[in-house]
Each structure stands twice: as C-alpha cells, then as structure tokens.
C-alpha cells in the first residue's frame, strides 16, 4: 500500500488513496489546532428513498448512530461525549454524511467508532420508535414554518411530488409512520458500502497515519456495488405557475421563485455560478438585494441560490416580506431577472464577482471543517485534487457573453414557478 502525495507547488495538495475495497480516503494535514475533522460522505442521500416511502435516508441519519453490533446507543453516546466529540449526521438529496471534530490524541479511537457506526448499525426497534417521534416533530415544525413550506412547495411544483428532488427530504408524517427497523436496515444494506464512502481527514495528522487508521478500521469491510440512479428532470413548464399557501397565523410571508437549472458537470457551470452570484449573492444579495432590500426596504433577506448537482437542481430566488408587499416583491424579482436576461451583466459586475469568488477561497479553506467540505465536493463531482488551484482560472475564463447566455438559458420570468407561504391569501399572477 502506498500513499500518493500530490506535490502541487501551491494550493491544498491533498493526498488521496483508494483502499482495496473501494473506499476513498482524502487527507490534508494542517497544524492550526491540535484537532482533526473527519468528514464521512456516503452516496446514500434522499434520492435513493424507495418510491412511495420518502424520508428513509433522513431517518437513517437519525438512527445510524443508535447502536451497532458491538455497541449500544448509550455506549456510543458515552464514548463520544467523554471525548467532547459531537457527531453530526446529515442528509442531502445526494449524500448521507457523518462529520465530527476530535482532538488529535483521540483520532484513531474516534475513527474506529465511526467505522463501527457506518459499517454495522442495527437500528434497534426501541430507538427507531423514539426517533420516529423526533422526526415527526421535525416534519410538523416544517409545516409551521413559512420558509420551509415555500421551498418544499417550489420543489414539488418544479419536479413533481414523487420525484427524487420534488418529494420532501424528511418524508411526511404518513411515510415516516411506515418506516421501521427493517426498512432502515435494507436501505443501509443497499446503499452504504465502501465504494459509496469517501472519508476526508483534515487536521494535525500526517496522511500516512490517517490512511493506516482508515485501513485498520475499514479494510475488512467487503466491497459491494454501489447502485447509481438516473434522475430525469421534467421539461420546463409552458407558462408561469403560481401557488399561494396561506398561513394566516404567521407574521411574514416567504417567497420561493425558481426554475430547474443545470448539472454540476455542465460546461456552462462556471457561467451559471457567476450569473447567480451577480443576480442574488454579491454583497447584500446582488441585483435582487440592491433592489428589494437596499432601494425599496422591503425585505430583511433576499437572495438567490443555484444547486447544480448530479441532476439539474433549482435556481431559486428567496425573500421574506410582509404580506402587503408580496405582489411588489414578486414584480421586482421579475423586473431584475428580466433585465439580467435582456442586457446581461455589466463588465463591472462580472469583474467584481470574479474578484470576490476567487478572493474568498482562502477564507473558505481556513478551517479544517471548511477544507474537508471543499475536498468532499471536489471528490463527489470528480473535480480533481488540484481543484482549489484551478478554480481561479476557470472563473477568470468566463466571458460576459457566456454569463448573458446562462441568464437567457436559465431564466424566463414568464415561465417561472412562484410559491408564496405566509399570512397572504391574495392571488398572484
């Protein structure tokens, strides 16, 4: 076994090793604090929920660390807490992740425990039942939260209620009721395997030590095929769709306005990234922030986000406004988007956004957790070990015409999907 060191003169230059069973280990040594961040990323996100049973991957994230074949839930809790290590389990559409930071002296012990949790959870019935109450409560809280209701509503409308991107990540009260220990075990069996797992280890350990620890903890785990999934995205709508979800007990209305966009590996990704940044990110929310917050004083938050992923995720505009300003805010979003589509960005906007995004890299990569997240993204999308070094050039190469083209391709207010949730029961056009 050899550890391959990338010898880039600049940049993170992490090392990467694929173990014999297919597990990927990415390491970066830093010496800022006597701590190590371990970020385990498993390609077992909510897109793999069985049809008609949304919420399984999320439920797995809530129960995977509640007992293994060798440790009870209490033992796991006691061991982690005794070392001051919080283990965060989270799930996105694509990925189930387990992340923690520990002191260097605890690294091997914590990694061994993490391996136990990832490899052989048992999902005990009693734990599953009490976590079900927690998950149900989280779902009920979402149902009372205009921001969550608006975003869920947008995703459902854009992709369809049963689509891997359209259904709710946490499931519904009804589906969660049907998820039991057997369902969780089957999901784990099918989707959590060495080939689906990558470990990013960032902190004051040398790569050799990290790889040896990973080998000791994971190498006896037999390889098994990691299933892939094709996600079809519905054709864009023929016209504008609006949906109003009145929540008259609330103080403020949330707007979610969007389109389906592109995949992360689309060649136009960097133009889209800059387009989104100019539209709703730069400084206090880009053009949208300038108009809706700064000039019109209508909202505390307004911004846009782009989720270019395995499948084309959404390009989404979000704002929280008073019910009296819903129509005005939506009209302002329409106006700003139309102007970006019609005229494209200005040269100055493009320069500023490039400067910002390139200049912000050292900040993104300052902490162990920041580096680990960055390395996992690069690994997930196959961007390469030198991605941090290449990003500036990739952004610099984007022209104003390309950003303008991205806006024309992605944005069309006449075909936008607009969802409004809050103390508003008017009719939007």
């Amino acid at each position: 076994m050899t550890v391959v060191h990338t010898t880039g003169a600049r940049g993170l230059a992490p090392s990467r090793e694929v173990l014999a069973n297919g597990l990927t280990v990415i390491c970066k040594r830093t010496t800022v604090t006597p701590a190590v961040t371990i970020n385990a990323s498993i390609r077992a996100g909510a897109v793999f929920d069985p049809p008609g049973l949304s919420g399984v991957a999320h439920f797995v994230s809530k129960t995977i660390d509640r007992g293994t074949t060798t440790r009870s839930a209490d033992q796991i809790a006691e061991e982690l807490d005794n070392r001051g290590v919080p283990l965060a389990a989270a799930v996105t559409r694509q990925v189930l992740s387990l992340t923690c930071t520990c002191l260097v002296e605890d690294f091997e012990a914590v990694l061994e425990q993490l391996a136990d949790i990832i490899r052989q959870p048992v999902f005990p019935d009693a734990e599953v039942d009490s976590r079900r109450r927690e998950v149900t409560t989280l779902i009920r809280q979402d149902e009372d939260n205009p921001a969550a209701v608006a975003v869920d509503g947008l995703m459902e409308t854009l992709y369809g209620y049963e689509h891997p991107y359209g259904r709710r990540l946490r499931g519904t009260v009804e589906t969660v009721e049907r998820i039991d220990s057997a369902v969780l075990r089957a999901f784990h069996q099918a989707h959590v395997s060495p080939g689906a797992l990558s470990l990013a280890i960032v902190g004051d350990v040398v790569p050799q030590r990290a790889v040896e620890a990973c080998s000791a903890a994971f190498l006896s785990w037999p390889a098994s095929p990691a299933p892939a999934i094709d996600i079809e995205v519905p054709a864009p709508p023929g016209g504008r769709r609006t949906r109003v979800i009145p929540m008259m007990n609330k103080a403020q209305t949330d707007i979610a306005y969007g389109f389906t966009a592109i995949t992360r590996n689309d060649p136009a990704y960097y133009a889209y990234w800059l387009m989104n940044h100019i539209m709703g990110q730069y400084s206090m929310g880009g053009r949208l922030g300038d108009s809706i917050r700064e000039r019109q004083g209508m909202a505390y938050y307004v911004y846009s986000s782009l989720d270019a992923n395995v499948a084309p995720g959404p390009l989404m505009v979000r704002a929280g406004v008073s019910a009296a300003n819903v129509e005005r805010a939506v009209a302002s979003i329409d106006a700003e988007l139309t102007s970006l589509v019609t005229d494209g960005p200005t040269e100055q906007e493009l320069v500023e956004s490039k400067q910002y995004l390139i200049g912000s890299l050292p900040r993104t990569l300052e902490t162990n957790a920041g580096i680990a997240a960055f390395l996992q993204t690069a690994e997930f999308f196959g961007l390469g070990l030198d991605y941090d070094v290449r990003v500036p050039g990739l952004l610099q190469a984007v022209t104003r015409d390309e950003v303008h083209e991205a806006a024309r391709r992605a944005v069309d207010p006449s075909k936008a999907t607009v969802v409004v949730a809050g103390p508003y029961d008017g009719s939007l056009s």
Binding site: T33, A77, G84, P86, D129, S283, M298, S360, P362
Partner: protein, 438 residues
Amino acid sequence: MATGVEEQAGGTSTVREHMLDNGLRVLIQEVHTAPLATVWAWYRVGSKDEAPGLTGVSHWVEHMNFRGSTNIPREKVKGIIEQFGGYWNGYTWIDQTTYTETATRDALDHMLFIESERMGSCLYDPADCESERTIIISELQGGENDPDTLLDQELTATAFRAHTYRHPTIGWLSDLQTMTRDDLYGHYRRFYVPSNATLVIVGDIDADAAMRDVETRFGGIPSGEVGRRAQTKEPQQLGQRRVTLSKSGTTAYLKIAHHAPAGHEAEFFPLLVLDAVLTGAKGVNLWASFRTPPPQRSARLYQALVNTGLASGVSGSIVPTQEPFVYTISATATEGTPLERLEQAAVAEIDRVAREGITPQELTKAKTQLRARLVFENDSITNIAHQLGYFATIARWQDFHAMSGRIESVTLEQVSQVATRRLSPVSRTIGWFSPADE
C-alpha cells in the same frame, strides 16, 4: 500617540494591547496560518442601554452604520471588502454592538478605513432611516414566524422585571414604528466614541505596521464620553414565574430560565460545567458555538427528555454577559407529548441536580468537553478576534485566556453549590408555547 499598555502570551502567539490618546483600546495578534486578516470593532452598547420608547435603537443604529459615511458614499459601501474576497457583517446583542471584516491580508487598511469611518462619520440620511425601518420590521416579523423565538422573548421579559435585559434586542414593534432619525443619530453619537470601543486585529499581519495604520486611521477621531449609564439592577426573584403563549401552530415548546451570574463572576464557571452535564458543552463563543451541536447524547436532560421520546431536542444556553443574565433550558415537545409531562420530567432533573450535585465522572467529562470546545471554537482568525473583543467588551479580554484555567479548577463542591443556589424554584421562570389548535 499610542502607548503599549500590556502584552500577554495567549495561546500560540502574543496579544498586544495599546490605548490611543483618544481612548480607543486596540488588541492585535499575529496569526500566520492563512494569508488572511480580520478586524472586529466593538462598542459597549447594546439593547440593555435602551430606554422605553427607544427599544431596538442599538440594532437599528448598527444597520444605519452600513449606510454610508462622509468618505464612503452609500453606493460605494459594497465592493470595498468584496474585491478582496472578504466577508463583512455586524451584530447587536444585549451588551454589545460589533462589526467585522475578514479578507485577504492586503485588505487590512481598507478594513481599518471602513471601521474608522463607522466610528466617526456615518450619515444617517433620513430616507435611508425610513428604508431601514421597514427592513428591520421585516426582520422582526421573520423572527416572529418562529414560535421558539417568540417564546424566548416572552420568557426573558417575564424573568426580568426591572433590568433592561428584559426587552428583545430587535426592539418592540411600536418603538420601531415611531423612532425618529434624531433618536438614531443621538444614540450613535453618544455611544460611538473611541473610549467606548475596542478594535481587534488578528491575522497574517505585522503588528507594528498594523498599529501604525490604526494610529493613522483612528488617531484623529475626537475623544468623547458616553456619560452616565443609568442601569437598574434586577431585584432578587422571590417566586416561580410562568408565561404561556397560546397561538396557532403545530408544535409545543418549553423553556425554563434561572437567573445566572455575569461572565466575570466566579460562579459562572461552575454553572458552565453544570450546563455541560445537563445539556452538553457549548463553549463560550457566541459567534461560533451554535454552528456545531454540543456533544450531548449522554447529558442528563438529553437522556431524560429526548431518549425517552418526550422531546425532539433539548438545549441549554449559558453565555458570558456583562451583568447577570439567565440560564435557559429549551425543549421541543414531540408530537402528542403534553407540556405538563415534559415540564415535569425536566424539572425533576433540575431539582435532582440541585439536591444531589454531579458525579466525579460527570465533572471530568464536562471539563474534557469544554476543553475540546475551546480548541474547536478558536479555529479561525475570525473566531479568535471575536473572543478577544467579546471579552474586552463584557469584562476584560484577559478573561478569555483565563477561561480554560478557570474551568479546570472547578470543583464538585462548587458545582453543587451553584446548582443549589441558582436552580432553585424561586428563581425559576417557566415558559410554554402551547399551540392553540392542539
């Protein structure tokens, strides 16, 4: 000219403290781990410094201080830090208002320029004041969408009868609707004077050169005095209080507050340990701690409330403050769990620890957790600088470095005493958010 007042070894490098002739305290620490620099400008003014009718003024002033100054026209505010890939922000809480920039190190002088302008010459254009009024009301209403925020506000207002910690930092709606531009400007001019501020610089910089830049940028700002700060002390609470919010919603919430010691008091540290035993260690970094969940699976209240299925989550909040604030325990009832039952289980644990104290094993575990937390929450120059400025504002910056030693020296006896004294039912306030359609 600037005078070096004190130097102290702190962690891996030295903090240098200077006081300008106009009274501005400057703390500089070189940290050469990334090509970055951070600046935090702190003011000893927060919502506790607000009189009735003007609640929320400190926070609104914070907003106005991003709206242009004599040498930074409003439309030029954005871009100065962004061109260096930088991040900027500010926040206001009960004791403090603070502003920060973190960017590549070559942006340092730009950051100092912005902060010197902010201290000396913000504009308060009347139209901008009006536009900010509606933004802040939107911020308030966004917060009110969250039952937990609403309950926290009501609980604090019930726990405090007299002290100005009782009103929310964002202010009461009617004050936000009626405050004038002159109210805002008057508050700004009174509290934004060098002697009421601490400037913190941390990062990949040369401390001597940075100090010269500070002298150039801030030396000319006239000194000023805040004047007398009237401050009512909270009288001792003599019996349990209770508040119940009844509003439509899907979920029930419980909060239990007890009066807590200030950050500089000896009792603060045993209470920090006690909280780690009850709900898991959070550390003491208001800027960073909430971003990472505490290690709490084996904590007493987690076991009693979450593992039993009564609550979907439990948390404790003990934060160093200038004056005695509250220690708050919050829990979210699971679907179908009556608040009475959740409260009963929580109070039983609180009463038990007040009666019996904690075990030696729990003390060791809590200290280990807090020690790890202090490492984790100082992993960036932004966090290090935040902590220096935070403690300089609510107590003394040296208290930040003394933190780990004071935690290590906490004894079982001290935890037992603080539990008995602080968690007594007479100093307790219980809050319920009970969904009306339940």
